[in-house]
Amino acid sequence: MGFGISADECQSGEYFRHPKAVSTLLAELREGFAPSSTQGKWARIMEVCGGQTRTILKYGLEDQLIDRLQFLHGPGCPVCVTDAAKVDDAITLSLEPGVAVFTYGDMMRVPGSQLGKGPVSLGEAKALGASVYSVSSSLEVLQFASEHPDLLAVFFAVGFETTAPSHALLVQHARKQGLKNLRLLVSHVRVPPVLRFLLEAPDHGIDGLLAPGHVCAIMGTEEYVEVAQEFQIPIVITGFEPVDLLLGVREVLQMIGAQAAGVRNAYGRVVRPNGNPAARELMETVFAPCLANWRGLGSIPGSGLALRREYADFSIENDFSELCRSSSALSRSAPVVGGLHQEEETSCQAGKVLLGRLSPVDCPMFGKECLPESPRGAPMVSSEGACAAYYILNPGGINGH
C-alpha cells in the first residue's frame, strides 16, 4: 500500500507517520465505513496498550474519527495497574539500610496506597535519602550488584510480557555470575487474562479490540485467537505509529461490519504468529503465571507472573516477608468495590478509566486536583496512562477541555 508516496518522499520509518498515508487512511475511514449498527451506536473499539493510546491522542486520530467510532482506552499501562501494595513494599525496602531499589523511571512517581505516614512514592523516598535508582535497562542492576556485594540490590520488575524476557535474562545472568545479593520484587501482568476479565462483564460494550503489538511480538497471536473465539469478537494486532493505528482500525471495522470473530495481524512487520520463541522460552523458564492484583481492578487469576521455584532464591519476598504486605494482600483477596480496590482512596476512579468506562476528561478531579505534578491516581503518572495522555496531549485543539 503505497498511498502514492514515492521512495524519495519518505525516509525510513517516516512512512508510518507520513501525512499522505495518514490523510488517505483517515478519508477512507470517514467515507468508507458507515457507523456500525451494533447497539444502534458507533463502533466501540478498545486499544489495549498505553503506547497506542498516546498515538491516538497525540496525532489527533480520536478527534478525526469521532463521527465514526468511539475509542475506549484499555488497561495497557503497566505503571497504572501495578498493585499499590507492591509500590508500598518497594518504598519500605528502599528505606531499609543495606538495600538499594532499582526501578524504571516512571515508577518513581507512582503513589503507593498512602495508608501510612511515610513517603508516598519511591521518588519521595529518594528525596528523603533512600537508595533508589532509576534504570532504563534491568541489566544495569547486574553491574551494581557485582560491585556492591555488601548491599542487597532489589529490582522492581514491572511490565507486561514485553519486559519479562529481559528480567528473566537478568536473573539468569545473576545466577551465572554467582551473585547472591540480587533480588526481584516482581509485579508482572499478562494481557490475555485481563482481556477475558474485560469481556466477561456482560455490559462491556466493546465491539472490537486492538491488541498490543509489542506484547504480541514476544508472545505471538495464539492466546488472542483463543480469546477471540471464546468471546466471538474481532481482535486486530496493531502497532504504534499513526498509520499502524489507522490500519488496525480499518481491519477491525471491516470485521465488525462482517460480524467476523477472530484475529488479524496488522503489524506483520514486527509480529509473527509464534512471536519470539527465544524470548518466550526465557520468560517461561524463569516465570510462571500466578494470581495478580491489578490496581483499580482487583485480583485476576493467572494474570501475573511469579518467579518459578527453581529461581525462588531471587525473590525478595523470602527475605522480607514481614515487610511485604502484598503476599498477605493476595491471600486475603480484598473485594473490588466500584471498580476500585477496597484499600485505595475512593475518590480516584482509575479502575473505571482502565476499563474504558470513564473518560479521563469526565472525572471531576481531572485537571483540577489531579495533575501530572500532583497525581491522585496512577493513570496520571505515566505518559502511557490515559489520564496523563489526555492532560498533556490535550486533544481537541481549540475546542479543548
Binding site: 489527533g60 486520530l61 478527534d63 532504563s136 514485553t162 498533556i392 481537541g396 481549540i398
Partner: protein
C-alpha cells in the same frame, strides 16, 4: 539487544588528577589565594581590578565605546547542570552562553559578566580548570569581559559538584526594541535551529536513561546571529531563547502574556532524527526538552524570509500568530491531516516510560 559488556558505560570527565578542592581552599588563607591566582585570575583581562572590592568603568569611556547605545541590559542565571561535562559542552560554556543569550534576546550586545563559583569539596582541580578554560574561550568568542567574581567552597553534599552564577551586562543600541508586547497578529514564528537537542543529550547522560545519541548539545552563543539581524536592521518583534521547558514553555508563556493565539505546524518543527527516536523510545516530547543555543523569533511576515536567510540553513518558519485575541492565549499544533491539539506547559519532570 542484550548488553553483554557493561564496560562500555563511560564518563567523559577527566579522571586522572589527584588534586582536589578542599574546604581549606575556601578559607580565605594561602590555599584560597593560590587557587584564585592559579585558576581564576587568568580569566580576568583587566588585571588592575583584581584584589579590589569592585570593578569600575568610567561612564565617559563607556559612552565613547558603546556608541549609539541607549539602554543597559542586565541578566542573571545560576547553573547547576549535572553532569558537568556533556557532549558539545560543559557547565562553564553553558554559564557564559546562557547569560549572554538572555541579553541578546532583548537586542543587547553582551559586554561584561560576573563569575561566581561554588565548588564542592572533592571537586578535582583538573575539572575546575577545564570548566574555567571553557568559560574563557566562550567569553573571548563574543568579546565578553569578566569584571567581577567570587569563589566559595562548600562541604561535599551532593557529590563532586560545581555551581556557577553569571550576571551579564549588555547595551542596547538606539532604535532596537524587542519585547512580547510588540508581537502582532500575522507575525511569522521562526526557530533558529532544531529543538530539544540539549535536553535529549543531557538526559541521555543521566542514570536511568542512558543512551549514546551520537549528538552534541546545541549549547552555543546566539549573539553572533542576532547581531547580524540587528546590523541589517531586519525588523524583529520579539525573541525568546529556549531553555528548560523547551519550545512549548516559551510559546505558552508568550501566548499567555500577549493573549494572542499561535498556530504551529507540526511538520515544520525541526527535530533531529536521533532526538525524535530517543523521545519515541522514552515517551518524551521534543517540544518540552531544553535547548541552549536556539531561540524562537516573532517577526513581521515581511521580514520572515530575510530573517531565515540570516539565521542560516537550520532555521525554520514554524507557524503564525493568529488574528484573534482571546481570554488566555492559546498555542495550537496543527497536523497536515487537519487534526489539531493544544500545546500546554509540561508540569514537573519528564520521566521515561517503561514499555
Amino acid at each position: 539487544m542484550v548488553i553483554e559488556d557493561l564496560s562500555q558505560f563511560s564518563c567523559p570527565m577527566p579522571h586522572e588528577c589527584n588534586e582536589r578542592v578542599t574546604l581549606a581552599h575556601g578559607g580565605g588563607g594561602r590555599l584560597s589565594a593560590e587557587l584564585i591566582e592559579r585558576y581564576i585570575r587568568p580569566l580576568y583581562a583587566r588585571m588592575d581590578f583584581c584584589g579590589l572590592d569592585a570593578a569600575t568603568v568610567p561612564l565617559r569611556a563607556l559612552e565613547k565605546r558603546e556608541i549609539d547605545m541607549v539602554s543597559m541590559a542586565m541578566s542573571t542565571d545560576s547553573y547547576v547542570v549535572d553532569p558537568l561535562f556533556f557532549p558539545g559542552g560543559n557547565i562553564g560554556k553553558l554559564a557564559v552562553c546562557g547569560t549572554a543569550n538572555d541579553l541578546a534576546m532583548v537586542g543587547a550586545r553582551p559586554r561584561y559578566i560576573s563569575l561566581s563559583l561554588i565548588l564542592s569539596e572533592g571537586l578535582p582541580l583538573k575539572v575546575l580548570e577545564s570548566a574555567l578554560d571553557s568559560i574563557s574561550q566562550s567569553c573571548k568568542r563574543i568579546g565578553l569581559e569578566i569584571l567581577a567574581g567570587d569563589t566559595k567552597v562548600i562541604e561535599r553534599a551532593h557529590g563532586e559538584r560545581l555551581f556557577i552564577n553569571t550576571t551579564g551586562i549588555g547595551f542596547v543600541r538606539k532604535g532596537v526594541e524587542l519585547a512580547p508586547h510588540l508581537i502582532r497578529s500575522g507575525d511569522a514564528i521562526l526557530v533558529s535551529g532544531d529543538i530539544g537537542r540539549h535536553g535529549a543529550v543531557i538526559m541521555s547522560r543521566r542514570e536511568g536513561s542512558w543512551a549514546d545519541l551520537g549528538l552534541e548539545s546545541d549549547c552555543d552563543h546566539l549573539y553572533p546571529k542576532i547581531k547580524m539581524l540587528l546590523d541589517n536592521r531586519t525588523p524583529l518583534h520579539c525573541l525568546r531563547d529556549l531553555t528548560r521547558g523547551g519550545l512549548a514553555s516559551a510559546l505558552v508563556e508568550l501566548a499567555s502574556r500577549t493573549k494572542l493565539d499561535f498556530e504551529i505546524e507540526n511538520e515544520a518543527l525541526p527535530i533531529l532524527p536521533q532526538v525524535s527516536a530517543y523521545c519515541e523510545v522514552l515517551g518524551l516530547e521534543a517540544l518540552h526538552l531544553a535547548n541552549e543555543g536556539c531561540c524562537v523569533l516573532f517577526v513581521p511576515e515581511s521580514s520572515a524570509r530575510e530573517t531565515l536567510g540570516s539565521l542560516g540553513p537550520s532555521a525554520r518558519r514554524i507557524g503564525t500568530v493568529l488574528g484573534r485575541r482571546s481570554e488566555n492565549g492559546f498555542v495550537k499544533l496543527r497536523y497536515p491531516w487537519g487534526a489539531e491539539r493544544r500545546i500546554v506547559m509540561f508540569s514537573g519532570e519528564q520521566l521515561p516510560r517503561i514499555c
